[in-house]
């Protein structure tokens, strides 16, 4: 219970902070925009990287999201969490980028840097290897499944929000999530994929 109260507090605190930064941006303070960038850049870039499998494309996506966000700040109103809003923007752009990529027959590369998470020293090597494999396996998932998994796990979005974004029912979103994870699990465990 205490944890929930504290989590709620931090959520609200973060939202208040975002509101304050947006308020400052609206009044022409570029530093506020850069603070928002600093706050969310890693999460958003990771999301874009998972969705696009290309770090340079991912960087372009996040760059264009922030420039566009700054450009439209005067009319921007924060209705949900800023993190979700930006994640949706990234997701939309990643989808478009993927379409363009397929059209131009650009091959997927895997220049994504591996993570700098810090588990215990003994687990570090294994974890890095797992994350490398995860990066490869994610490419094999259908885009919609990948998007659900990334938005839910990386951006903390609720299935309901993702359903709205993908314009499908919550059940479909949950199914995509489950199928996607099952497929990743099978790939990790060297099971035969149907």
């Amino acid at each position: 219970m205490a944890a929930t109260v504290a989590e709620n507090y931090f959520d609200r605190s973060s939202m208040l902070e975002d509101k304050r930064l947006i308020w400052k941006m609206k009044r022409g303070c570029p530093e506020a925009g850069l603070q928002i960038y600093e706050k969310y850049k890693t999460d958003l870039l990771s999301l874009a990287a998972v969705l696009s499998h290309d770090k340079s494309i991912a960087e372009d996506i996040v760059h264009s999201v922030f420039v566009s966000f700054a450009d439209k700040i005067a009319d921007f109103e924060l209705r949900t969490s800023l993190k979700s809003y930006l994640a949706i923007c990234v997701s939309n752009r990643a989808r478009n980028a993927n379409k363009l990529k397929f059209r131009s027959n650009v091959t997927l590369d895997s220049t994504i840097e591996m993570p700098s998470q810090q588990p215990g020293p003994d687990d570090q090597a294994t974890n890095r290897e797992d994350l490398q494999r995860l990066s490869e396996f994610m490419k094999l998932l259908p885009y919609e499944q990948k998007e659900v998994i990334a938005l839910h796990l990386k951006s903390g979005m609720k299935f309901k929000e993702i359903a709205k974004l993908q314009n499908v029912s919550i059940n479909t979103v949950q199914s995509r999530y489950r199928y996607g994870l099952d497929k990743l699990k099978s790939l990790f465990n060297d099971e035969v994929i149907q």
């Binding site: 308020w23 925009g33 603070q35 960038y37 870039l45 450009d71 990386k154 465990n189």
Partner: protein, 779 residues
Amino acid sequence: MKSLKDIERLVSEFQTKPSQSMDKRVENDVRNTIENQNKKNAAVKQPNIWSQIMHSKTIKPIAAAIIIVAAVLGLTLLERTVSPAYAVEQTVEAMRGVQNLRLTIANGPKPMDMIMLINQRTGRADHIRMDVPDSGDITITIPGQTYVYNKQKNEVTFLPQELLRNDLNFKDVINSLVEQTNAAEGRIEILNQFNDLAGKEVISVSIIRKNESIAGQFLIDPETNLPIYLGMDAGGQFNYMGPIEYNINLSGDTFDFIIPNGATVTDNRPEELKAQNPKSSEDAEFNLLETAMALQSAYNGHGILIDRQGRRVEVWAEINPKTGMMGKGRLEYEDGGLYIMADGKTYFEDDGIVGLKDGHFFASNIMFNNFIATAAQRIGDQDVMTVEKTFSDEFRREVIAVSVKRPWVHLDAVIDPETKRPIKLSVPFTMDKTEILDYTELIEYNVDLPPGCFDFETGPDVLILGKDLDTQFSNDPDYGMSYDDTEDIQQVCRRIAECYLQAKIDGDIEMIKNLHPIHINRYGSNKMIEQSEIQEISSNGKIVEILDFKPAYEYRPRQMMVPCNVIKDHSGQHQEILVGVIVYLRQHHGQKSAVITGYYPRLLGKFTVTPDGADLGAVTYDGLEPGTLMQNWLVMGPIPVEGNQEAHRIAFDTLHINPAYFEPTIYINGKPNQWRLLTNEIGFIDLTRPFQNIMGILYAWAQVEMPEETTAVLGIGSDDGVKVWLNGQLVHENWVSRGVNVDNDRVPVTFKQGTNQLVIKIQNQGGGPWGFCCRMLEE
């Protein structure tokens, strides 16, 4: 073998870090985008008196009408001696000061008197009384209700609506004139003329139809710039309404509904209005006062509080029946800290330290003060308060939700409609405050307190704090920096202060612990304290650079205050701020060492204020040293300003003195005011200590002798609004709510050769502390 949980964890952990080039690209492009927008906005926001006036809530109906007329049709100046700016700006300005007005309509079929009370919050006349002298009939409209008395029939009728539209009598008449004029492709003429009706020279603003007949006319008193007659063509006959008198003395019962003896009464109002005579704006106030009353019957409370660091704290409080504040308190932190405040002492167990200290660690008003203060002080006019009954999902019942938006704080409270006591409070600081404080309390009253709730024991292990400084340092002779008699005290102070501030910049907590031991070490390794030492959480901003030191001065016996200009990083924005380090000159077994015993993240300096009657000689500067704050000022005020933000703005635009010529006595509202000499040894003029947090205006005057004409930039800091005159010319104004910092505004000026008169007007319009500072910059 990986489980689904492992996969979920892996995806969560997957992280890609942006390259430096991306960071650079985003930084450049975001910055450019926002700065380009700023340029665009600045271009759009070029002074446009029309749009400013039309969007201003402060415009009163008549003035608005004049603006509409002028804006729609354009001005035709027949008489060149009349400034084109007159009718618009000056009349609008004058109208801003109107609290009430009386309009006499002597001509026409039904002569009448009309009194209007202008709501200073909305700018609309929300109380209107109309007397018809011939018949004795009276009509009174207040928000939501109307009283109509027919003397001939001796009948009183109460109606549940406003019969007289608050803008009907001026705005609509003028609007219709405008429409007529528009339809007739008319024009506006402004000229000075003698008017028989007014019996003097007036400025007439006429609406001329295409056929050269006059559709409507305002006669404006050139002395007050206020309209004194309104004329309109009513089907061939030209009638004048007036004279109009402004800000008359109204009796307290002007808008009261009084039922004359023997009158028959028809009351069409709903039952709840019959029982009382409510004014909507006072409903909420009533609730709050009820709450304040209800809190008086609370003798203890229990609540959950989320403190500003996000920690969950369980609080028990015994309320002092005399003050309504927390007399005894117990705070249990979720991370194990315990604080008990009772009998003027605080017992604590925190981070492995068990101690006892004189005084209460936490403000004794921690739970109740906000609400009591809000209720007791009533809601200021600048506050926006909403009160509504609503169903609370959290409490599963009907509650009263109160929201008070003040310039700096937004207070939300949930009140139990039965007990009238707050059961939840939430106070986030937002707006310009970079700090966000948000606490929520789930409060219950008059509970059974846990046994021994406020008891504590002081065993031998309890660290007793609050002894004299030498005793506190005695257990470690190595604290601080040694010095000997050969060293200059100023140098010693500066050396240790510089070392301390540099340690803050470097985040060297070990050095800080050594130099400033009692603050840090009494809590052991309390991380919050350490963090606040480095990041200055409570004051915002982190020191990033030391600029220069001012001479140290004696602050208390054997304690020196060392002022220092530093640059602080406030969420990415750098500001120059004066901080103060208190250095204690310690003697320990013949050894001398300097130790830091205090730190002021924003220094105010010692001040003196002389009695009335100071003269300019005391504030005459022989030139200005660039970079040095001016320390001596003659001050006049504070002149209290009451009312809402509009009233403050009006006061800001009102000039109470002649900034070109110094006059020893200034008359304000008929009362003489004299100048006093205010000196502050560092030039950071804090007005809160001499004059409290009064909402008001203060004028500061200084005289500067310049050997030759000098072009310079003045660095002006102000909390809040500021105007600056040099030799009677307004050189700067900024209507703003903010904290004072050195060089908030940079103002280019030219000092003439010889004596210059420098006048600053400071207005505390946001509440809280106020002050100013001024210096010539090296630019």
